[in-house]
Symmetry: C2
Subunit: 110 residues, 2 copies
Amino acid sequence: MPAAARLDDTLAALADPHRRRVVELLRERPRRAGELAEGAGLTAAAMSRHLRTLRRAGLVEETSPDFDARVRVYQLRPEPMVHLLRWLEETERMWSEQLSAFKAHVERAD
Amino acid sequence: MPAAARLDDTLAALADPHRRRVVELLRERPRRAGELAEGAGLTAAAMSRHLRTLRRAGLVEETSPDFDARVRVYQLRPEPMVHLLRWLEETERMWSEQLSAFKAHVERAD
DNA sequence: GATATAGTTGCCGTATGCGTTAAATATTTC
DNA sequence: GAAATATTTAACGCATACGGCAACTATATC
């Protein structure tokens, strides 16, 4: 269960608006499952499934407070997003190189 | 058809490994549809669908060279990825703020 | 110990995604 | 103008995603 951090899972997990909403709620602070369900306007069952997806993608981490073991608190795990960030930055970088190469080419042709 | 750039479409488009492969091929240079199909190990038909998806997400742009109108050349369009990048950076930013707030809290408790 | 609370899981129906093969479209080439 | 080339579209099958509701598990409360 050491969090895949594979781009596939990360992107698929983030591709759902409800799950992105969860991420947006969690980036403010950790929250309980029920809180997330309410905040996203979903039933507890539906949210539970989304949380499982996010957990499997390594995007969130689940813990229980010791004062109430029924509750599950979810917290963000940034690693997968950092990984995705890097892939995007690399793409950006190469694209702009491509651009300047093209510009140079045009200028040579002038 | 001015390219949605909505996170939903961007993420869904990038969540497929074949389509990510296309992006990786295109970040080097523009390429013809057939070249992309070969480079990703897909039939022309399958690739055509992926390209449609990428086009609808605004991630690629299609043009035809004037010397052969049968050919379609695809090129990267970074806008949607930049948008996604910003969302991820914002998430990162807020997460680290959350972290330091927590740290400060713990230190106060000491 | 009975009941309430917090969440998860099973099952179902519907919707959507992806690849394949077979046409269809458009344009070049001979 | 007939045959070849580059790519897209159509029709089909299969797998998977998502939500709803009901049942289930585990823990807390009275």
